[in-house]
């Protein structure tokens, strides 16, 4: 329990990576996420899901994406995870194009995007977080199993390791997905509604985890409906409405100058 996260870590490139674009190093001085005038339109849709969106997540920052349903929060995260192709605009992660460093980014999908009836155990599903480091024709080894076990302990679900994923409650599913994001050992987390329908205990675990993550130089972009904790848990909030950025609310600090380490207990200093 309570080991500090292992990054920045030495990363070994997989023998046969899934994407041919390779694993590039971050470019110095670049923010974790940079989005400029991004527009996304789904086929058959009448209007843009995202329209000229610009935002930035500096290294070590926690940024919340808020807004009503259909505002484009999920679309923005999907675009950054390489799941949706934008029509126009520019995106960069650590100064590189999306997809150039898959192992540096962990995307947490909405719970409903998974087929929970699949015959996997919790540790099987969490192990899929290691696949980005394995690639084709490599199988998880002892080191990967140790990482999975440690992450399950950190999330407080070590006792569920051999449970079938079809038998999990909503909160347990969410913890499992977070465990998988953690085991990827990525430095940028893109989390889509990680707090949706979870209990208070899970919220505390997630909060603690994201704090630790940013303390170690990680960055977080979270789509959330949980407005109650916004100011205490995030450095800034981006309010999206109908695919456009309505406002960006920095909570106390200049979001662009946050390379300094985060204070241990993050009270809202507004």
């Amino acid at each position: 329990m309570n080991q500090s996260p292992e990054f920045p870590h030495s990363h070994e490139e997989p023998w046969l990576p899934y994407s041919g674009r390779g694993h590039r190093d971050p470019r110095a001085g670049q923010p974790a996420v940079q989005v400029e005038h991004l527009s996304v339109r789904y086929r058959k849709a009448g209007s843009d899901a995202l329209h000229a969106v610009s935002l930035e997540v500096a290294i070590g920052q926690r940024v919340a994406l808020v807004g009503p349903n259909g505002a484009g929060k999920s679309t923005l995260l999907k675009a950054l995870a390489g799941l949706v192709k934008p029509q126009s605009g520019h995106m960069a992660l650590f100064g590189n194009p999306v997809g150039a460093c898959h192992h540096r980014t962990a995307y947490l999908p909405q719970r409903t995007d998974l087929d929970w009836q699949s015959p996997l155990t919790v540790s099987d599903l969490v192990m899929t977080g290691r696949y980005v480091h394995l690639g084709w024709l490599s199988w998880p080894g002892q080191a990967d199993r140790v990482r999975v076990r440690r992450v399950l302990e950190r999330m407080g679900i070590a006792d569920l390791a051999e449970r079938q994923i079809s038998d999990l409650s909503g909160g347990q599913q969410q913890r499992t997905l977070l465990a998988r994001a953690l085991v990827q050992e990525a430095s940028l987390f893109l989390l889509d509604e990680p707090l949706n329908a979870v209990d208070e205990a899970t919220r505390d675990v997630v909060d603690e985890l994201l704090t630790q993550h940013t303390q170690c130089g990680g960055s977080v972009l979270v789509a959330t409906h949980d407005l109650g904790r916004l100011m205490e848990s995030f450095d800034s909030a981006v309010y999206l409405c109908e695919g456009q950025v309505e406002s960006i609310l920095p909570f106390g600090r200049d979001p662009l100058a946050s390379l300094a380490p985060r204070p241990a207990s993050s009270g809202a200093s507004k």
Partner: protein, 279 residues
Amino acid sequence: MNWLLEPFQYSFMRQALLASLLVGTTCSLLGVYVVLRRMAFLGDAVAHTTLPGLVIAYLNHWNLFVGAIVAAVITALGIGWLSRGQRLREDTAIGVSFSGMFALGIVMISRVQSYRDFSHMLFGNVLGVTTADLVGIGIVSFLVCAVLLLVNKELMLTTVDPLHGESIGLSAERMRYLLLILLALTVVTGIQAVGVVLTTALIVTPAATASLITRRLDRMLLLAVVFSACSSVAGLYASYYLSISSGGAIVLACTVLFGVAYLATRIHWRQLPAQYDAT
């Protein structure tokens, strides 16, 4: 004891046994993925669409096996292409191409005016498997099983969580095409044993039976193979002693096993309503 060994004095029975075990293993292993991804109907469709390929190959004296593989792969990729990006729902794409290709096969057969020659394509005849057929089945089975083994973890990932796959650069679309090609190859081996119409049973039924009994992937794969092997052997004995169609007998044996497993799990559930833990 003699009646157990008697059928296998004949070389055609030994070849039939070997062929149906090979086919059964391949079909049931792939079938587990097909069932988990809810693609059962697709297997049926691909099987039916091999008919024009078989007919063309037959009329031109080409290798039937190759004709079927070409037709099956073309249809599998065609269905994948038609339903890409949800332009057309997959079941719609399947419905259109499957009946269209099967109709093409029927029309071509009726031009030849000899349904008789084609009955073994429709219903299979594992007792008539030649050594050359057996070699073909063996090669395809080996290929399919090897690929399944090598990409097992990627197939499973894109089944449970395709978005995560995409986010780490693993294209769910390509994995689906790969599965479709494997399905096409597998279906063609199944046609030799039980024919165009019944192949889907070899793919779906043992996997479905296994999925009733366990929720662990490794056990599911193992059980599916065991069920299909038992069905093959039982079907061949039934076919030999009762003089009934071998393909029909094998598929019926699969179905009986499914029925037994279904009833057994129903009873098991009723006894243990709250603590059901199938591991």
